[in-house]
């Protein structure tokens, strides 16, 4: 077993990059949509054989056991090479929760199936009345003999139509004094009569989001992870690393690279107005990286990140959007055209980039919610 953490950052980065460069299928690079499992299955097999499906999991559970600092490098290289994350909800969300809060039986049963993608997971958190205010969720799970019986509705469930299982936050005690209490974390199979999935068509014309309706669906009581009514605290405990990852510069850096080659091909760099706007965007990306480096250094020193790390997400997602907006401007009358635009030997899908940038300011806690958090937790403002 390789001890990745013992390698220097440079060596590790090189090793990760080389693997992606030599093994990742060219046709899947910078995929503009979320793939079904079938589309990425052959890549997943390679990753699985290499033992790289779960970089963050401890080695004893079949992960790479990476430290936070190495993990950051792994993800940076992944994004830089345009490697699709595949169907990683199981690895990213369920696995860590089971590892942290699950029983031995749950670990033995679920973890290998996550790694092999025998089970494909989707995340049942948001509801029509519980978006930014997630704790407002209403989907009920009531104990009935050896089962939970689930009634309610989840929404924005990414790729639910291509999932075998759903992990969800459900209300198990509607009478709890605070709405954050009385929420539990349970696992449920999708393939049963009480579960209905409807896809939602997005602005981009994709169908990656779904609504999931539960009408008397059942899951065994042993599929409760952690304690009953403690789901909220557990789900929050996972978010610490997520917060720096979601603010990483890679998406904006990739988009800037695309903008630059596209705009050069279109001759936009002869226009002084465009030049200044490009310089602003490019410096926004470069200067964000300076702040990002500060947090990455904190991780390297083994420190825990505070709420202030949300700054990264606010800055980089809004910057990503401005870059894709500049692409559309540089496209001129082609700015509304679906599909790749060819300029010289470069081909850039301007609209796909634009659409990809839109939800980044909404998901993972909308930027407005992030501002609320920063203003209270970091600036100490009242109310």
């Amino acid at each position: 077993m390789t001890d990745w953490n013992a390698m220097t950052d440079e060596d590790f980065r090189r090793e990760v990059h080389q693997f992606f460069e030599s093994e990742y299928p060219e046709e899947l690079r910078h995929l503009p949509h979320r793939p079904t499992f079938a589309e990425v299955e052959h890549w997943h097999r390679k990753l699985h054989a290499k033992g790289w499906v779960a970089p963050a999991w401890p080695a004893e559970y079949g992960g790479m056991g990476l430290s936070a600092a190495k993990l950051l490098i792994f993800y940076e290289e992944q994004q830089r090479w345009g490697v699709n994350r595949g169907r990683d909800m199981g690895v990213q969300m369920v696995g860590p929760l089971i590892i942290k809060f699950g029983t031995q039986t749950q670990k033995d049963y679920w973890l290998p199936r996550i790694l092999s993608c025998e089970d494909i997971w989707c995340q049942g958190y948001s509801e029509p009345g519980a978006g930014s205010d997630l704790a407002n969720l209403r989907t009920r799970a009531e104990i009935d003999g050896d089962d939970f019986v689930i009634n309610g509705q989840k929404i924005w469930t990414t790729m639910a139509h291509d999932a075998t299982h759903i992990f969800m936050l459900v209300r198990t005690d509607p009478d709890a004094p605070k709405k954050q209490q009385g929420i539990s974390f349970i696992l449920a199979p999708m393939d049963q009569p009480g579960v209905e999935v409807r896809t939602i068509r997005t602005l981009a014309g994709e169908t990656e989001f779904c609504e999931v309706f539960f009408d008397g669906a059942r899951t065994p009581r042993e599929n409760l992870v952690g304690e009953l009514n403690k789901g909220w605290t557990m789900a929050k405990a996972l978010l610490s690393f997520e917060r720096i990852f979601i603010g990483s510069p890679s998406l904006a850096q990739n988009a800037l690279g695309q903008l630059e080659s596209f705009a050069r091909g279109r001759g936009a760099f002869n226009d002084p107005v465009f030049r200044d706007r490009f310089a602003q965007a490019a410096l926004d990306v470069e200067d964000h990286a300076a702040l990002y480096a500060r947090y990455a250094d904190q991780l390297k020193r083994g420190e825990t990140l505070g709420a202030d790390v949300s700054m990264l997400k606010i800055w980089v997602t809004e910057c990503f959007q401005r870059i894709t907006e500049l692409m559309i401007e540089a496209a001129g009358p082609d700015g509304g055209t679906i599909g790749p635009l060819q300029v010289g030997n470069v081909s850039v899908d301007v609209l796909a980039s634009f659409y990809k940038a839109r939800p980044t300011t909404i998901y993972g806690g909308s930027n407005e919610i992030q501002r609320n958090i920063l203003s209270k937790a970091v600036l100490g403002l009242p109310g």
């Binding site: 760099f269 030049r275 200044d276 490009f278 310089a279 602003q280 490019a282 410096l283 470069e286 200067d287 964000h288 300076a290 702040l291 480096a293 500060r294 202030d308 700054m311 606010i314 800055w315 407005e368 501002r371 609320n372 920063l374 203003s375 209270k376 970091v378 600036l379 100490g380 403002l381 009242p382 109310g383």
Partner: protein
């Protein structure tokens, strides 16, 4: 591992430097001192110069062998940030970056360097010239037969100094010369700035001057000194905007309207958050640029590009933060009674000096294009 230990040691040195500079400025009266000096006619304090020199401030980036502390630009940046926090009116950045920057590169053995580091003499550096539409692209101020003829503009700290370093055109290219403040044929016109300071317009008519250096080395040293000063001005802006943000944050926590602190309103909270993010990005950028400049060695092009990046970001942040801070103060922000206006006015002057953010973005992108083409 060694690398990390050294970095940690460097960080610790910088922290101590920051602390001692902050204590020194705070003891002297913080930004109240700036207000008093402004009201007294826009001069600076000779006593403060002596005190700063005693703390080693002016030689911080000068190599050990030339009588400095050899701590590099990153350390000079720490001091510049502290200067910005109290909007100190002394020409500290201009002295470190331009005057001492030129002297230690071009004539390290001249007695003037030691005196400048020791605070015994304060000189202003004149290198830009005014053209019909702004900065003149070339140099027309001439040095011949020991005499200067022509004019210089935008000389920081020009009023009240003992003499001037003047970059002029000699028989074989650029020369660095020294002119005493009272020299014959020298006229100094101080143009009053928003913060109460003055930028000097100098004119020479057969003014006697001492030749300090000549040849290609002068152009190279000037380019480096200007890059340093630009980046240090950025650090001064970062200190300034950081303090301005603290002031406005404090204000919105205490000022009440509609029976609650205005900082309890979401619109104010979000604006404050945006300013905070802007400030953190600016600080990280400028500190990174300064330490990379220390690593860039003799690569003048890279140093210039980094300096432009720093000044562009710091300018954007300081303008936005000081202007929004006035807005969030409401009507009292528009009065001279509140301190926030001092920061706005100083930001105006520092942003314009050595080029604003638009100008530096242009230089940055040109340099990036050029380096891309060379690669």
């Amino acid at each position: 591992m060694k690398q990390t230990e050294e970095n940690t040691q460097d960080q610790e040195d910088l922290r101590l430097l920051r602390e001692s500079a902050r204590t020194l400025f705070d003891r002297a009266g913080g930004n109240d001192r700036a207000r008093k000096l402004r009201d007294a006619g826009g001069r600076w304090s000779a006593g403060m110069i002596t005190e700063l020199a005693g703390a080693g401030v002016f030689g911080v980036a000068v190599p050990d062998e030339n009588g400095g502390l050899g701590m590099g630009l990153a350390a000079a940046g720490v001091l510049a940030e502290e200067v910005g926090r109290v909007i100190a009116p002394e020409p500290i950045v201009a002295t470190i970056g331009l005057t001492i920057g030129l002297l230690h590169r071009l004539c390290p053995d001249h007695g003037m360097l030691k005196k400048a580091i020791g605070g015994e003499t304060v000189l202003a550096t004149a290198w830009q010239e005014r053209g019909p539409t702004g900065v003149a692209p070339g140099r027309s101020c001439r040095f011949a037969g020991g005499k200067l003829t022509g004019a210089k503009a935008w000389v920081s700290g020009a009023v009240g100094v003992e003499g001037y370093l003047v970059v002029a055109e000699g028989d074989d290219g650029a020369v660095l010369t020294y002119v005493e403040a009272g020299a014959a044929g020298l006229n100094v016109d101080g143009r009053r700035q928003a913060d109460g300071s003055a930028l000097g317009e100098l004119s020479f008519s057969a003014t006697p001057a001492e030749l300090l250096a000549e040849g290609a080395a002068v152009e190279a040293a000037l380019a480096d000194a200007v890059s340093d000063t630009t980046a240090l001005a950025a650090a001064e802006l970062v200190g300034l905007s950081g303090r301005a943000f603290e002031i406005v944050l404090d204000y919105i926590k205490t000022r009440e309207q509609f029976d609650k602190p205005i900082g309890a309103f979401q619109v104010i909270q979000h604006r404050a958050t945006d300013l905070h993010v802007m400030q953190e990005v600016a600080q990280a950028t400028v500190r990174e640029a300064l330490s990379w400049m220390d690593c860039a060695g003799t690569d003048a092009q890279a140093r210039a590009r980094l300096a432009s990046r720093a000044k562009a970001r710091a300018g954007v942040a300081a303008k936005k933060i000081t202007r929004d801070a006035v807005q969030m103060h409401g009507a009292v922000g528009y009065t001279d009674e509140f301190d926030i206006g001092l920061f706005l006015n100083r930001a105006l002057v520092l942003s314009a000096w050595l080029g604003d953010d638009t100008y530096h973005r242009r230089l940055w992108l040109d340099a990036r294009d050029k380096e891309g083409a060379e690669r």
